[in-house]
């Protein structure tokens, strides 16, 4: 290395040093510390007793844990499929310029940027058994349901409200990703397909979809990664829907506090997450 190259390398390290320190100390170290904690009985005040694998044994024999996994799987399935399909539909719909597209764009991006804490109250009101417009619509107006029900109060139906909420909030991201790919597909391809005798549906399946294959895979993977850790959106809207993050939160900070058990849950979850992230970095990201 020449002196100038060395100087550049030194400058590079200097600039990135604060980031390394902060992220190392407050993310990488805690992740490892978490593994350590998972072998202890940990109290809220910080006292610890070594218990070996007991937390894991307790966890794996806890039926609530399995039901949390089941809930999480349903949640992931519903949100990934819903978000991707809605995002795709939005992108196809809004692909070509029309008058007022900017406004429509801003409107559909709004759920994504809005604070969860404010919009959950709007949603809760919509699903309110007495005053909510959803019950009014399905019971009084359409007569599809025989009686008003508290959809958020019942964990089974609340799960689907939470899924719908997530689709509402995160479809805009899928939309943006898909749209940016969609507009890059050259017109020539469509014109060639049209000359070869394909109609709009044929063109969608033979030109659009193959081109979008990669970006759709990206959307699915990203949704999985983000939603596996999703906390606020679920907890604040319907605290009775126990996905894994909420299960962990309850273990760690409410009722009979067992932070060691929460740590063990997080360790397993990090393992699964790492597989998704590894996939993402290996197959999709060229960072």
């Amino acid at each position: 290395m020449t002196p100038l190259e060395r100087a550049e390398a030194r400058f590079g390290w200097k600039l990135v040093a604060p980031t390394i320190v902060i992220l190392g100390l407050l993310i990488l170290y805690p992740l490892m510390y978490n593994v350590y904690l998972s072998f202890f009985d940990v109290q809220l005040n910080g006292s610890k007793i070594f218990v070996g694998l007991e937390n894991y044994i307790k966890l794996l024999s806890n039926t609530d844990y399995y039901s949390a996994i089941a809930t999480t799987s349903l949640y992931l399935f519903g949100t990934v499929v819903g978000t991707t399909l809605l995002g795709l539909a939005m992108a196809l719909l809004l692909r070509d310029p029309f008058m007022g597209r900017g406004l429509v764009n801003a409107a559909i991006m709004l759920p994504y940027v809005a604070p969860v804490i404010s919009v959950v109250f709007g949603w809760q009101f919509l699903f309110d058994p007495i005053s909510g417009v959803v019950n009014y619509l399905f019971v009084d107006l359409l007569g599809l349901w025989s009686e008003r029900s508290n959809l958020i109060g019942d964990p089974d139906s609340a799960l689907w409200v939470v899924v719908l909420f997530d689709i509402w909030k995160h479809a805009p991201i899928a939309y943006l990703l898909i749209l940016s790919k969609l507009v890059s597909i050259s017109r020539d391809q469509y014109e060639a397909a049209a000359i070869d005798g394909y109609g709009p549906i044929g063109r969608f399946f033979h030109v659009t979809l193959p081109e979008l294959y990669f970006v759709l895979a990206t959307v699915v993977l990203l949704r999985l990664i983000w939603n596996l850790n999703r906390f606020e959106d679920v907890y604040l809207l319907a605290p009775n829907v126990e996905t894994l993050p909420i299960f962990t939160y309850y273990q760690a900070f409410t009722g009979v506090i067992d932070q060691g058990l929460a740590a063990a849950t997080s360790v397993i979850q990090l393992g699964v997450l790492s597989i998704f992230i590894w996939f993402y970095i290996k197959k999709i990201m060229k960072w």
Partner: protein
């Protein structure tokens, strides 16, 4: 202003060597053009002179300083980039005077030089615009202005005209030539266009595969190329290379025998055995003449009865293709010579223009 010396410069990126050992002297005030096909190492060489890349080994001397370990900003060099690299957030004026401002040149002086440069490059009307509002040609002129306003030791040009259309390119080429004649500053100019190299350079340096294939004045590299690569790279259309066999008394090309004594531009004087020596014969298309228009002399050779395969009229010139010694050969004649395809013609060549190259090494004989 300063002279430059490159001493055995090598540059590798990882395991791939891009520049494999270059020695070059550039004199004070000289305009040197580095020319070659893409990937030959010409841009890398220029960037090493600028300090934007570090040589893996070897020394670069500017004036009396070895600059290897001097940062680019301290080398006192001005440079015109291929994509112009104008600062998008600054106006044309700010772009041009950015370096002067930094050097704390006093305002009056800045204004004076700005006026001079913007007059020379016809930028007066554009000074308050942003680069995004300029056409390609205008941006190019701003990039030129940003360089020439400085009193740098050395001016570097990295393919400055390659993004312009051909008309604008030849106009700017002339402008660059005029500017150099006016200021006489040491300049290194990189291009892949041999026309730019020929027209602008005091010295042309032809690079090939990380080495200098030949350095010399434009006419030297044109008339006396050191090897087949330079012979074919410089000049358009490029030189015909024809298979031939050299004997003691004559050079056999197809069915023709050219007298060896009159090949005055061939240095090889050794005697040759009976089988003869296989050689590559180089004749530029421009050196063929129509026998009906040019008198034969002692120093010319008549390739008679060549059958024309193809005629490509280009206005004043026309290029005709015919078969000679198993290869397709091109000749450039002008509009006075009229032929039809399939016709047979007699073409004469000045024997002093016929070059020979070694069959194996491609070097001149």
């Amino acid at each position: 202003m300063a002279a430059i010396e490159l001493k055995n410069i090598v540059k590798s990126f990882g395991d791939t060597a891009v520049v494999k050992g270059i020695d070059l002297n550039i004199e004070d005030g000289e305009f040197v053009v580095l020319v070659g096909p893409s990937g030959c190492g010409k841009s890398t060489t220029l960037r090493m002179i600028a300090g934007l890349e570090q040589a893996t080994s070897g020394d670069i001397v500017i004036g009396d300083r070895v600059v290897n370990d001097i940062e680019p900003q301290h080398r006192n060099i001005a440079m015109v980039f291929q994509n112009y690299a104008l600062y998008p957030h600054k106006s044309v004026k700010e772009n041009i005077i950015f370096a002067l401002r930094r050097q704390k040149v006093d305002n009056q002086d800045i204004e004076r030089r700005l006026t001079e440069v913007s007059e020379m490059l016809q930028l007066e009307a554009l000074l308050d615009r942003k680069p995004a509002d300029l056409s390609g040609g205008q941006r190019q002129r701003v990039a030129m202005g940003r360089a020439i306003i400085r009193e740098a030791d050395l001016f570097l040009f990295d393919e400055p005209l390659s993004n312009l259309d051909s008309k604008l390119r030849s106009h700017m080429r002339t402008e660059i030539g005029k500017i150099h004649n006016k200021f006489g500053r040491t300049s290194v100019y990189v291009t892949h266009d041999q026309v730019e190299a020929m027209t602008l350079a005091d010295k042309v340096v032809v690079l090939h595969d990380g080495y200098i294939a030949q350095a010399g004045t434009p006419m030297e590299v044109y008339l006396n190329p050191a090897n087949v690569f330079v012979a074919q790279f410089i000049g358009s259309p490029s030189m015909n290379i024809i298979e031939g066999r050299l004997f003691n008394d004559y050079l056999q090309v197809g069915n023709y025998r050219l007298p060896r004594q009159q090949l005055s531009n061939v240095a090889l004087q050794t005697t040759i055995n009976e089988q003869g020596l296989p050689v590559k014969v180089g004749i530029r298309p421009d050196f063929f003449n129509d026998s009906r228009l040019f008198p034969e002399t002692d120093n010319t050779f008549n390739f008679n009865q060549l059958q024309i395969d193809l005629i490509e009229p280009m206005g004043f010139d026309k290029e005709i293709l015919f078969n000679l010694a198993g290869g397709s050969v091109k000749a450039r004649l002008d509009l006075r010579s009229e032929f039809k395809r399939g016709e047979r013609v007699d073409l004469i060549v000045d024997l002093s223009r016929v070059l020979l190259f070694d069959n194996e090494t491609d070097l001149r004989l």
